[in-house]
Amino acid sequence: MKASRLQTVLIPLLLSAIGAVLFWAFWSGVTGHEGERLAALALARVPESGASNPVTSVLLNFRAYDTLMELAVLLAALLGIWSLGPAAAPYQPAALLLNSLVSWVVPMLIIAGGYLLWIGGQAPGGAFQAGALLGAAGVTLALSGRPNAGLPDESWLRVLAALGTLVFVLIGLTLMFLGLGFLTYPPALAKALILTIETGATLSIGATLAAAFLGGQPRATRTAEP
C-alpha cells in the first residue's frame, strides 16, 4: 500500500525523536551521578536468592515479575500466530541422510537443554536458554518433514504452552495467600521454587517456539510417520 507523503516524513521523525530520548536516558544512566548502583545491591544479595548465578537470580527472583510478563508475552504471541489460521503445509519428509542426522541431533538437543536448565542456577544457562534449545529441536523436526514439529496434539499443546505462565502465577499467588507477598520467595525455599518455575518455563518456551515456527494453528496429527 502506498505510503502517503505525510507518513514518509512523520514516521522517521517520530522514530528519531524516540531514539534520541532513549539515547539520552541511557547516556544519563551510564554517565550519571554517583550513588548506589543497583547492580552492586543485587550482587550483594545473590547468595540469598536461591541461585548463585547472578543472571538467574535477577531473572527469576529479583525481577521475577518481569520474567512472568515475558512468558505471558510469548503466550500472547503464540495466540496471535494461531489466530492467523491453520499452519502451512509441512515440508516433504526427509530423505535417509537428514533423517538419521535428525534422530541423533534431537535427543542431544533435549539432553543439552535439560543440562542447561539444571546448570542455570550456578553457571550461564537457565530456562530461556534451555527452552531455546528445545525449540531448536522442534524446528529441526519440522524442517525434516514432521507435520507438527514433533509436538503433541492441540489440547496437550495448549497445556504445554500455558504451563510456564501458569506455574509462575500459581506460585506467586500461593506466596501471596501465605502472606509473604507476590513472588517473594522465602530464602529457604528459594532454590526449589526457582527450579520449579524454570522447569515449567523451559517446557513452555520450547513448545511455544516450536509451535510459533509452524506459523499457524497445528493441523490434526495424521497416522504415524514413517
Binding site: M176, F177, G179, L180, G181, F182, T184
Partner: protein
C-alpha cells in the same frame, strides 16, 4: 479458629472457583453446569448473609494479601460494601436462573457461564475492596470478564458492540489507574476510610487533588455511563438479555456508580470534596446525564435501547445523591443503588422475555402484549412505575429522599431536575404501558415460540422478573422495616457523617 479474615476472600472465590470449573465442562453437561452455578450462588448467599449479620453487629472482616510492601490487596466489609454485595448476590442468583432458561439452546454455554461467574466475582471484589488499588484491580478484571459476554453471540454487530465497549472501558481503566497511582504517590496507601482520608493532607496538594478527582471521575464515569462517556452502553445492547440485565443492574454500571460513591465518601470525604468545589461539578454532570439520557430515551423505538438510555439517566441519580451535601441526600443516592438495580433488572428480564417468546424487539410491536403475556407485562408495569417514581414501588422512596435532601441542603435546582426527569420518564414509559394494556394485539407476533404449555413462557424466564418486581414493591412498602435497603443506607450515612 477465627474465620473472619477469610470471609471476604471466600465470598469472592465462591463464584470464581465454580466459574473456573465450568469452563472445562462440555456443552452437554447441562446438569453439572447448572449444579455448579446454583451451588456457587447459594453458597455466596449464605456467606453474604453471615457477613451482613456480622457487620450489623460491628464485626470486622478483612482479608489482606500483600503484593509487595506498601502495596496490599485488601478485601474488607463495611456497611457500604455489604449493601452492594447483597444486591449483587441476590440479583446474580436470579439472573443465573434466567440465563439458564434464556440460553437453553444456544451454543457456547460453558464459555458463557464461566465468564458469567467471573464477572460476578469481580463485582463482589469491587464491592469488598478495602483500598483504591484493590478496587482498580477488580475493576479491570470486571472489564475483561464482561467483554466475552458482550461478544457472546459472535455476530458482526456483537463484535462491533464489544469492541466499542472494550475501547471505552479500557480507556477509562487507564485513566482510573493513572489517577490512583498519582494519588498513592502523594498520600500513601489509599485505604477507604469513613469520612475520607484526604482531608488531613497539606494545603499545597489541593490543586493536584482536584486534577486527580477529575481523572478518577473520568475513569469511573465510563462505567457509570456519565455523559459524554456513555456511548458504549446502547451499543452493548446486542448482548443477550441476561447479559444486559447483569451489565445494567448488577455489575458494570453499578460498579461505576459505586466507585463514584466510594470516591466521594471514603477517599475524599464529602465535606472536603465540597470545600474543593468538586461536588458542584459532579452534580452538574449528574444532572446533565439525567436529562440527556431521558431525552434520548424518548426517541428510541428499540425496547432495549430505550431501557439502556433510561439506565444512563437513572444511575446518575446515585451520583446526584452523592453530590448534595447532607445525610438525607446521601441516603437517597445510596438506596437508589439497590432500588434501581432491582427495578432495572425486572425491565430487562421482561424485554428478554418478549424477545425470546414473541420476537418483539421494538416498542411499536408491543401492542396488546399484556393480553398475551400478562405476568411479564405486570412485572414490566411495576418496574416502569417505579422508574417514574409512583408509590409504593421503591423508586418513590429514592425520589423522596433525594428531594428532601436537596431541599434541606438548599439545592432547589436538584428538585427541578428530579421533576423534569420524572415527567420525562413518564413520557417514555407510560406510552409503552398504554400500548401493552390498552391496544388490541396484532394477528401474528413477529416470531412466536412456544416455550411452555401452561405458562405464558418458560418458567425459568417467567419467575425471575416476577420475583424481582415483587422485591421492588416490597422494598418500597417495607422501606421502614429493619434490614430494608433504606435502613441500611441510613446506617451507612450515620457512620459516614457521624464519624
Amino acid at each position: 479458629m477465627n474465620l473472619d479474615p477469610y470471609l471476604p476472600l471466600a465470598i469472592v472465590l465462591s463464584s470464581a472457583l465454580p466459574g473456573a470449573l465450568i469452563f472445562f465442562l462440555g456443552e452437554d453437561s447441562y446438569r453439572l453446569r447448572t449444579a455448579l452455578n446454583l451451588f456457587g450462588a447459594l453458597l455466596k448467599i449464605i456467606l453474604v448473609g453471615w457477613m451482613i449479620w456480622g457487620v450489623f453487629h460491628g464485626h470486622v472482616y478483612e482479608s489482606r494479601l500483600t503484593l509487595m510492601p506498601g502495596l496490599e490487596l485488601v478485601l474488607s466489609a463495611d456497611a457500604l460494601s455489604v449493601l452492594f454485595v447483597a444486591l449483587s448476590t441476590v440479583l446474580w442468583l436470579v439472573t443465573t436462573i434466567y440465563a439458564i432458561g434464556y440460553l437453553e439452546h444456544s451454543p457456547n454455554r460453558s464459555r458463557f457461564f464461566g465468564f458469567f461467574s467471573l464477572c460476578v466475582s469481580a463485582t463482589v471484589g469491587i464491592a469488598l475492596s478495602g483500598n483504591l488499588m484493590t478496587f482498580v484491580v477488580f475493576y479491570e478484571i470486571l472489564t475483561l470478564a464482561t467483554y466475552p459476554l458482550v461478544a457472546h453471540r459472535g455476530t458482526p454487530d456483537a463484535d462491533h458492540g464489544a469492541k466499542v465497549y472494550l475501547a471505552y472501558t479500557m480507556s477509562g481503566g487507564v485513566l482510573l489507574f493513572v489517577g490512583a497511582v498519582w494519588l498513592q504517590t502523594l498520600v500513601g496507601q489509599l485505604t477507604f476510610t469513613q469520612g475520607g482520608l484526604l482531608g488531613a493532607a497539606p494545603e499545597a496538594l489541593h490543586g493536584q487533588f482536584i486534577l486527580i478527582f477529575f481523572l478518577l471521575l473520568a475513569g469511573l464515569g465510563v462505567k457509570a455511563a456519565l455523559v459524554p462517556l456513555h456511548g458504549w452502553l446502547p451499543q452493548a445492547m446486542v448482548a443477550p438479555a441476561p447479559v444486559s440485565a447483569l451489565l445494567h443492574a448488577v455489575a458494570v454500571v453499578k460498579a461505576g456508580a459505586f466507585g463514584i460513591v466510594r470516591l466521594v465518601y471514603d477517599v475524599y470525604g464529602v465535606e472536603f470534596a465540597d470545600d474543593l468545589g468538586l461536588l458542584t461539578v459532579l452534580g452538574v454532570l449528574a444532572a446533565t446525564t439525567i436529562i440527556y439520557g431521558s431525552l434520548k430515551a424518548l426517541s428510541q423505538d428499540g425496547l432495549k435501547k430505550r431501557l439502556a438510555y433510561s439506565t444512563v439517566s437513572q444511575v446518575s441519580y446515585i451520583a446526584l445523591g452523592a453530590s448534595v451535601l447532607g445525610p438525607i441526600a446521601t441516603i437517597g443516592g445510596l438506596v437508589h443503588l439497590v432500588h434501581q438495580g432491582i427495578m432495572k433488572i425486572t425491565l430487562f428480564f421482561c424485554a428478554g422475555n418478549y424477545a425470546e417468546t414473541l420476537g418483539v424487539h421494538k416498542v411499536s410491536e408491543m401492542n396488546g402484549i399484556g393480553r398475551r403475556m400478562p405476568w411479564t407485562t405486570l412485572a414490566f408495569t411495576v418496574g416502569a412505575l417505579g422508574m417514574i417514581g409512583i408509590p409504593p414501588v421503591a423508586g418513590f422512596i429514592t425520589k423522596w429522599y433525594l428531594g428532601l435532601g436537596a431541599a434541606t441542603a438548599g439545592a432547589y435546582w436538584v428538585i427541578v431536575v428530579l421533576l423534569v426527569s420524572s415527567l420525562l420518564n413518564a413520557a417514555y414509559f407510560l406510552p409503552i404501558l398504554y400500548r401493552a394494556w390498552f391496544r388490541p394485539p396484532p394477528d401474528q407476533w413477529p416470531e412466536e415460540a412456544v416455550l411452555s404449555k401452561r405458562l405464558e413462557t418458560a418458567p425459568a424466564l417467567l419467575w425471575p422478573p416476577v420475583v424481582t418486581a415483587l422485591l421492588a414493591v416490597v422494598a418500597g412498602l417495607l422501606a421502614a422495616a429493619p434490614f430494608s435497603p433504606l435502613e441500611w443506607a441510613t446506617l451507612i450515612a450515620e457512620r459516614e457523617y457521624g464519624r
